[in-house]
Amino acid sequence: MENIGALAILLAFCFAVYAIVGSLVGKWAKRPFLTLSAERAVYSVWALLTAAASILIYSLIKGDFRMAYVWATSNHTMPTPYKFAAWWGGQEGSLLLWSWLLSTYAAIIVFQNRRKFREMMPYVVSVLMFTQTFFLILNGFVASPFKMIAAGRGIVDIGDGQGLNPLLQYWTMVIHPPMLYLGYVGFIAPFAFAIASLATKQRGDAWIHTTRRWTLVTWMFQTTGVLLGMGWAYAVLGWGGYWGWDPVENASLLPWITATAFLHSVMMQEKKGMMKVWNMVLVSSTFFLCIFGTFLTRSGIVQSVHAFSEGPIGKYFVAFMVIGISGTVYLILSRLEYLKSESQMESVLSRESSFMFNNLILLAGCFAVLWGTLFPVITEAIMGEKISVDKPFFNRVNIPIGMFLLLLTGVGPLIAWRRSSFESLKRAFMWPAVLGLMVSMGLFAAGIRSFYALMSFGLCAFVLVTVALEFYKGAKAISGKSGRNLLVSMFELTHRNTRRYGGYLVHVGIVILFVGFTGAAFNKDTTVELPQGGTMQIGAYTLRVVGYEEGENANYSWGRPKIAVTKNGEELPMMMPEQRFYFASQTPTHDIALRRRLNEDLYINYAGPGNGNNNVILQVYVNPLVSWVWIGYWVVLIGTIICLVPSKTKLVFPRTEVVGIAGKRAGAEKHAKTEG
C-alpha cells in the first residue's frame, strides 16, 4: 500500500515536470498537442496525489503503525476525526496536504479555462506546476509521509502510535489548517495569471477579471483560517488570549495584509487603469509571503507553539523563494512598458488617494509585523544571539496603524472617485464625525481613560455611521424612484452592486472585530492557589472551590476542580476547568472553563495542583467584548459571500455627451445596456 503511495508521488513529480516543459515548448514551438497534453498532465497530478493522500488517510484511520508518520501522529485511542486530522498534524502529512490542495486548485483552473485564455494558459500551467514540482520534491525526496519504521533488516509494526499532539486534539484544529492552507495555496491562481499576463505582454486587465472571484474566495479562506486559529489559541492554550504575536500567527497575518491591500488597489486598476506595477508587486508579495509562512512553520528558524521540528527543509524553501522572486522581479522590470498607468491621480481629496493611503498603511503594518517576526533571525545573523521582540513591541507599533486603518475604512466610502471638493466632504463627514466624537466623549464621561480605547470606539462609531449612511442614501434614492420601502430598496441596492455593498458589510465586520480587540484594554487577570472551600474575587465575580473530580479514559487522565461562581451575588452555573494528561505522548494539556457573554468572558484555567493538600492553582481572566471578535468574523464572512454574488444586471449606462473626435461613435453607444 505505502509503496503505491510513494509511487504515486513519484509519478506526480514526473507529470508535473512534464507539464512545465510541455506547456512551454508547446507554446514556443506552436505545438497545441503538447500544450493540451501538459494540461492533461495537471489532471493526472491531481489524480495521483489524491491516490497518495487517500492511502495516507486510510493508513492513519486503520492504524498502520509500520509507517513512521502514522506512528508519530496517530494511535488507537484517538477519535476518528482526529485520526483524519492527523493528515496535517505532522510535517510530512501537512506538506502532502499543501501539494494535494495545490493540485486540486490547478486542476480547477485548467478545467475552468480549457477554452479560454489560450495565450496565457501555457504560462499559467507552468507557474502552477513549477510550484507543484517544488512541493513534490519535498513530498517525494525530503519529507516523505510513506517512510517505514525499520529495525535491523526488516520493517516492524510498533503496535500503537504516539498520537496527535494533544494541543491539536481540538475541534477547530480539524478545520483550521485546511482553511488556512486553502487561503495560502489559493493565491497561486492570481499570481499564476499575473505572471502569464506579464509573459504574454498583455496590456489589459484580463488576469484581474479572471481571478477577481478567486482572490476573494482565497481571502475568505485565509480570514477563516486566521480566525479559527485565534479561536483555537483562546480555547486551548490556556493563557487567556487569542493572539500572542507568535511568529507563525504573524506568518499567517502577513499574506492576509498584502491580500487585503491587493483587494483594494486592484479597484484602482479596474476603474482607472492605475497602479498596474503595484498590483503585480502586491499579488506576487502575497504569494511569496504564503510560501514564507509555510517556510517559517517548517524550518524551525523561529520558536513557536506551531512550529514543526527543525530539519533540512528550510534550505529548499529558501532556494524556491530566491528563484521565484528573482524570476518575478525580472519579469516585472522587463514588462514595465506594458504596465504604464492609463490615467493620473487628479486630486488628493479622492477615493484613489484614500486607497493609496490604505495600501501604504497596510504595507507599514505588514513590514512592522515582518520586522518583529524576523528580529531574532536578524539579531542572530548580526550579533550571534537571538533577541526576540515581545507582545508590547507589536502592540505599540500596530495599534496606531490599526487606528489609522480604521479611520480610512470610514473615510474611503465618503470620498468620491477622482475628486471631492471641501463642500462635498464637509457634507459627507459632518454626521459621522459628530457621532464618533459623541461616542468618545460619552465613554470619557463614563470613566474610560484609555486613550486608544476612546479613539477606537469613536472611530468604530464613525465608520458604522458612514456605512449606515451609504446604505440609507442609496436605498432612499432607489425607494424614491421605485416607490418600494427602504428595506426592499436596501436589498435592491446591494443586489445592484454586490461588490461595493458586500464590501461595506465586510467593513462593518472589521469594525465589530475592532470593538472586540479594544475590549483587551480592560482585561483583568489573576493567578491564585486556593484550598477546597477557598474563595477569590475578580471584577464582579466571586469564585469558590467546592470540590474536585478526577478520572481517565483510554486517551488521557483528567482532574478538574468544581468552581461555584456568583456575579454580584447572583449564582451562575458551576464551572469546571480541566487538566489532562495524555498517555501516549506523556503530555499535559488544559481544557479551560469559559462563560461567554456579549459584554465579557469569564475564563478559568486549571494550571494544576498547588503545594498544599488538595489545593488548586487557578488562572482567572475576565475578558470584555471578546465575543464581538467572533461575531465580527461572521459579518466579514457574510459580506464576502455577498461580494461573490453576481451583481444584478439591467443597469442602463448614463447618458453621455461625448466630446471630441469619437463623438459620433459614442453617441451611438450611449443608449447601450451593460451586464453589471
Binding site: 509503496n3 503505491i4 509511487l7 509519478l11 507529470f15 497545441p32 498537442f33 493540451l36 497534453s37 492533461r40 498532465a41 489532471y43 493526472s44 489524480a47 495521483l48 491516490a51 480549457r114 477554452r115 485564455f117 489560450r118 495565450e119 498583455q202 489589459g204 484580463a206 479596474e270 476603474k271 482607472k272 487603469g273 492609463e342 490615467s343 487628479e346 465618503l414 468620491a416 472617485w417 477622482r418 475628486r419 471631492s420 471638493s421 463642500e423 462635498s424 457634507r427 442614501k473 442609496g474 432612499k476 434614492a477 449606462f653 448614463p654 447618458r655 453621455t656 455627451e657 461625448v658 466630446v659 471630441g660 473626435i661 469619437a662 463623438g663 461613435r665 459614442a666 447601450a672 451593460t674
Partner: protein, 131 residues
C-alpha cells in the same frame, strides 16, 4: 503480485490519459480582438460614469464636482473611442483631439434644470420625462 499489477495499472492509466489526445479534443482557437484592452477600458469608463451618476443622485457630490468629473470621464472616453477607431479602421487620428464644440443648449429639464444639447424624451440626469 497484486502490488505490481496496481503499480502498472496506475502508470498505464495516467500515461494513457495524458497523451491520448484526439484531434477533436483540441480547443478551437480564440477570436483575437486587437482592441480587447481598449474595449475593457471603455466598459470601465461607462461603469465609472454610471457610478458617478449614482453618487451624485445620493448627494455625495456637489454639482461642480459632478460636472467636472463627468467632463473628465467623457474626455477619457473620447480618447479611448478614438484609439479603438484608429485600431479598427487603420486611420491615424489627429495628434490632439479636436476641441469640444460649444454645447448648444436646446432643452432644459423642467424637474432638475439639467441642460442638454439635443432633444430627449427623458432627462439624462434625473430620469424624469422632459415634457
Amino acid at each position: 503480485m497484486m502490488l505490481l499489477a496496481a503499480a502498472v495499472l496506475l502508470i498505464a492509466l495516467t500515461v494513457l490519459f495524458t497523451f491520448s489526445i484526439r484531434a477533436k479534443d483540441m480547443p478551437a482557437p480564440e477570436p483575437v480582438s486587437p482592441t480587447r484592452h481598449l474595449d475593457e477600458r471603455r466598459a470601465a469608463i461607462y461603469e465609472n460614469l454610471r457610478d458617478l451618476q449614482f453618487e451624485y443622485r445620493v448627494g455625495k457630490l456637489s454639482d461642480t464636482d459632478y460636472q467636472q468629473t463627468k467632463l473628465g470621464l467623457q474626455k477619457e472616453l473620447a480618447g479611448v473611442l478614438s484609439e479603438i477607431e484608429k485600431v479598427t479602421s487603420g486611420v491615424k487620428p489627429p495628434s490632439k483631439p479636436a476641441p469640444a464644440p460649444a454645447p448648444k443648449v436646446v432643452l432644459t429639464c423642467p424637474h432638475c434644470d439639467a441642460k442638454f444639447a439635443k432633444p430627449m424624451k427623458f432627462c439624462g440626469e434625473c430620469g424624469k420625462a422632459m415634457s
